[in-house]
């Protein structure tokens, strides 16, 4: 099983950041803002964020801000969207530089995407998904601006996406999927609404995601994948049912998904690595209190000291 190759993963992330011209990098360019959040948060969890030039990142980040709408895009030149707006705000929270934002404008962009029924659209084109409910609620909470939306309706919409197996889908009636479950449980946690969840029922569905190889899948009958080490694990933690899985077997699975030579973590052992799975693997290990890692908050997906700072430092 071995250990977590901290140094290799740090080098991998720094290299990925620089390698902008490969085909793989170009294909991901449109979500560079997400990639930056994944990479930077991983570096912080690995206690290595000091190597980053904060100002350079912030400068690039702000060049992705559309001052007309108030939202952020995935990279320079593309259209704004909730997904990237959340990542941008999370990055600034990580650096404790939320002061560079026109918080009012950004909040208005997010709040403006709430629909009559409480749901959220991802952008002006109107796609509705509980992922966007999470993005909006998490983003606004970090900005201390949750009061700009109708929280009650937002919660009501999320609860309407609850299924009979205790899980949640993308829209009402949508099948339960671990990614959607994370978004809904996260949003309900942030708004203090976990009493809407049948924790025993959902906890059992979630703990049944653990496969014989120790990894977690996203739905019954599917293969284990490292990214579910986050979606499923954080959900289990938020509802206090994480002791229902075998943490050491999951740790073993994640560590086996490392590329010990070149750094990075993949979805499954011996597959190609990427920043997405590197982040989720390290975040999963952090949730399980792997030695040497900073602990991460399961709802905000940011280090706990960052979240505590947002809520409890001197005003």
């Amino acid at each position: 099983m071995g250990e977590l190759e901290v140094h290799k993963h740090v080098q991998y992330i720094l290299a990925v950041e620089k390698k902008k011209d490969s085909f793989e990098a170009l294909v991901m360019e449109h979500l560079r803002m997400n990639g930056a959040y994944w990479g930077l948060t991983t570096l912080d969890l690995l206690q290595n964020i000091a190597v980053i030039d904060q100002e350079e990142v912030i400068s690039w980040l702000m060049s992705c801000w559309d001052k007309e709408s108030g939202g952020f895009s995935g990279t320079v030149g593309l259209d704004p969207h909730l997904l990237y707006t959340l990542s941008a705000v999370q990055i600034l929270a990580l650096f404790n530089r939320l002061d560079v934002l026109d918080i009012d404008k950004v909040s208005k962009y997010v709040a403006g995407l709430q629909n009559e029924d409480g749901s959220f659209s991802g952008d002006m084109w109107g796609e509705i998904d509980t992922r966007f409910s999470y993005c909006a609620i998490c983003c606004l909470s970090i900005l201390h601006s949750l009061d700009k939306i109708n929280v009650e309706k937002a919660v009501k919409y999320i609860v309407s996406c609850k299924n009979l197996d205790g899980g949640f889908g993308a829209t009402p009636g949508g099948e339960s999927h671990a990614g959607q479950i994370f978004c809904c449980v996260g949003a309900l946690s942030i708004t203090g609404s976990l009493h809407h969840i049948d924790r025993d029922l959902l906890g059992w569905w979630l703990c049944e995601r653990q496969c014989t190889d120790g990894g977690l899948n996203g739905r019954p009958e599917k293969l284990a994948d490292v990214c579910y080490s986050w979606w499923v694990l954080s959900s289990l933690i938020m509802i206090d049912c994480v002791h229902w899985i075998d943490k050491s077997k999951l740790t073993e699975f994640i560590l086996n998904c490392q590329d010990r030579e070149n750094g990075g973590i993949s979805d499954r052992p011996d597959n190609a690595v990427d920043v997405f799975h590197t982040y989720f693997g390290v975040a999963g290990l952090s949730l399980m209190e792997y030695a040497g890692l900073k602990p991460i908050d399961p709802a905000y997906a940011l280090p706990i000291d960052v979240v505590n700072r947002i809520f409890f430092s001197k005003c």
Binding site: D21, S22, F23, L26, E29, H30, G74, G77, L78, D79, G122, D123, W125, G126, E127, D129, V151, L164, D165, G173, E175, S189, T191, G192, S193, G203, W204, C207, Q210, R219, P220, E221, D225, I237, M238, I239, H243, W244, I245, D246, K249, D259, S266, D270, N271, A272, F276, H277, S286, L287, M288, E289, P295, P298, A299, I304, N308, F311, S313, C315
Partner: protein, 666 residues
């Protein structure tokens, strides 16, 4: 990002990769240019199609196409032209789905185009597309999930003359049994069975199953403000209950979660207080105002002390107000009455001592009870008749399922054993008038199933231990004899003259959580030491609790102690030798009422006071928001990683009523 094998690029690959990259870069740059300059020519749109075939994930490309579509729509002259525009978009989506069948952007674009309502939707084409994609990735559970959705909709209809719920469910049991016995390894059928079971075991009727004070009990109160004590009128005993807030709790416990308990739906008749002024609160406190346990407090006046027995009557009549979570109304009127005699004897004359003295928990086994201090069993309010809340059909169905599953249980399949355990537990509640021996045998059978499961499926040990703890609690509290063997004399707890009633000792039972608290509403002193408790959820119902021992358990966080907050009588707490401070990731962080979850307003003034007292608020907010709401006189925290000097200083600041900390007088 998923499912690509790991390989190092060779030289030949490098050249091809560079060409691919260059092509992609050009297409992306072109798209951004056309998008910003609103270029919607045929060539431009065609270039975007090429890009989408390579990378359908870029949302902006789909946005561009929507803009282009709307613009070209304006210039379209006839319905043929419009239809061809629509077809172009649908074809682009199909091409994109070939590259990635799960592309959010592609699917939404298709929905968006069709929702423009410009051309008749070709449903054949749509279903063919779906078939094609689903063939590539089919799963059974989707079907069962859909089935339970349909059924749920059907069953919730309350139309008269509507199809019989019970016969529908019976057919479903047959159907799922076929599936399960054919292929017991297919998970999806089991989740459906669990849902069916849930439909079957939910009690049809709302019942009041427990209360404190219990019906027919008589109490003498020696009223002295916060030194008020309460004793049963008979038998005459030296023991007492502390009523250290000067208020008497009235606790109601229902057989399921209900809302709507208030002074209209529940009437309390007494000379002490006007019914309309009583406020009923759910326990645990909840934003949704729903709970199985509800409490109100009778303020005991100082004045009336004429040694007359005053009757207090609590009535719950038919009420549309009180509703269960599935909408059942409360249709079983019940009432109970108890009497209160007030005198103004001081605490010492009444034979008591306040809890300012240090209370020492005895580590040994409990010694035999003195019959003088035995509160009569009647006053243990075990008035359960849960069985009346269930129909014949429910009982028969569960019996059938048990028979079926017992036949299968030879095969040692995890799901079979787990389902059988759940079935047996469900049956336990539904059957009335069993002898104690029958009940204990039944519970022993369930315990054995969980022990087997712990061996069969060690991955889920945590779950089985939790379930097992509940069965154990059931066993230990199921009747007078069981409880008696765990009750103890309060002299086990202190060498001074404090004589407490309602002492229960549940040590060393390997409990990971507690349950069946409706049977323990009379408990004042509870020793849960030397267990494996990680949660104390449920304890909030024990409103008389004054002394609690949680030493040597697995409590990992301060936030998991939230259930202590509604215990207004709690004065002595021992949480020494737990795991508080060992775990940086707090699993009850979001279940705890605090400014983090917008469940309380941040008292900035108080937090600033704490900062002035050198307390790091950002790192210790959990302790501040928990202990601030407790009124402890005695606290033990040693043996926890968190319990350093700084923490002790914090406790002293946040608990001004504290007299004893870790055995030392402050």
């Amino acid at each position: 990002m998923h499912g690509r094998p790991r390989k190092s690029p060779g030289v030949k690959d490098a050249a091809a990769a560079a060409a691919k990259a260059s092509n992609l870069r050009d297409l992306q740059a072109q798209l951004i240019h056309n998008h910003h300059h609103r270029v919607y020519t045929k060539e431009a749109i065609s270039a975007s199609s090429k890009l989408l075939e390579i990378n359908p994930e870029i949302l902006t490309v789909w946005n561009y196409r929507k803009h282009a579509f709307l613009q070209n729509l304006k210039e379209a002259t006839d319905s043929e032209g419009i239809k061809s525009l629509v077809d172009d978009e649908l074809r682009a989506v199909e091409m994109a789905l070939r590259a990635n069948p799960k592309s959010y952007g592609a699917w939404f674009h298709r929905k968006w185009v069709l929702s423009q309502g410009l051309a008749a939707v070709d449903f054949d084409r749509e279903f063919r597309l779906l078939d094609h994609l689903l063939k590539a990735d089919s799963r059974n559970f989707h079907g069962w999930n859909y089935r339970s959705e349909l059924l749920s909709r059907l069953l919730n209809k309350k139309a008269p003359g509507f199809v019989d719920r019970e016969s529908i469910l019976t057919k479903e049991y047959d159907l799922v049994s076929q599936a399960l016995f054919t292929d017991p390894s297919d998970q999806s059928g089991w989740f459906y069975h669990l849902w069916l079971l849930d439909q079957t075991v939910t009690p049809n009727e709302v019942l009041l199953i427990s209360s404190w004070p219990s019906h027919g009990s008589d109490w003498v109160l020696s009223v002295n403000g916060d030194a008020t004590i309460c004793k049963p009128s008979k038998p005459i005993c030296t023991g007492y209950y502390f009523m250290n807030t000067g208020k008497l709790p009235i606790v109601l416990y229902f057989n399921q979660t209900v809302k709507g308990v208030n002074s209209s739906s529940v009437t309390v008749n007494s000379i002490f207080v006007k019914n309309e002024n009583l406020v009923w609160r759910p326990l645990p406190p909840s934003k949704s105002q729903e709970a199985a346990c509800w409490v109100t407090y009778l303020q005991i006046p100082d004045v009336l002390s004429d040694s007359k027995a005053y009757v207090v009557e609590v009535k719950l009549s038919h009420s549309k107000d009180i509703l269960s979570s599935i909408g059942s109304e409360f249709n079983h009127p019940s009432h109970f009455r108890f009497t209160l005699t007030l005198n103004s004897e001081s605490l010492e004359n009444a034979g008591g001592e306040s809890v300012d003295e240090l209370l020492v928990w005895n580590d040994g086994r409990s010694s035999a009870l003195e019959s003088n201090d035995l509160v009569s069993f009647d006053q243990l309010n075990l008035c359960e008749d849960h069985a009346s809340a269930f129909s014949q059909w429910q009982l028969a169905t569960i019996s059938n399922e048990i028979k079926l599953f017992k036949e299968l249980s030879e095969e040692n399949c995890i799901f079979v054993n787990l389902t059988l355990a759940r079935l047996l537990l469900a049956q336990e509640v539904m059957v009335s008038h069993r002898t104690l021996t029958e009940r204990l045998n039944h519970l022993r059978e369930v315990l054995k199933l969980y022990d087997d499961l712990l061996k069969l499926d060690p991955r889920h040990a945590g779950y089985y231990e939790d379930e097992r703890s509940l069965v154990l609690m059931n066993q230990v509290t199921c009747d007078e004899k069981s409880i008696s063997s765990h009750r103890s004399h309060s002299s086990n707890y202190t060498s001074s003259k404090v004589h407490l009633l309602g002492c229960l000792q549940l040590k060393s039972l390997s409990l990971t959580r507690i349950g069946y608290v409706e049977r323990l509403l009379w408990v004042q002193t509870l020793d849960l030491s030397h267990n494996k408790l990680r949660s104390i959820a449920g304890i909030e119902a024990l409103q008389l609790l004054t002394c609690l021992n949680l030493r040597n358990n697995q409590i990992c966080s301060i936030t998991s102690l939230e259930p202590l907050k509604p215990l207004s009588y709690l004065r002595v707490l021992d949480i020494s030798f737990n795991k508080i401070g060992l775990h940086p990731v707090d699993t009850t962080r979001y279940l705890f009422s605090s400014p983090l979850t917008y469940s309380m307003i941040k008292d900035e003034k108080y937090l600033e006071e704490c900062r002035q007292a050198n307390i790091n608020v950002a790192d210790n907010w959990e302790a501040i928001f928990l202990f601030r709401d407790l009124h402890l006189k005695q606290l033990d925290v040693k043996g926890n990683a968190v319990a350093d000097e700084k923490f002790r200083a914090l406790l002293k600041k946040v608990l001004p009523t504290l007299i004893w900390l870790d055995g030392e007088r402050l």
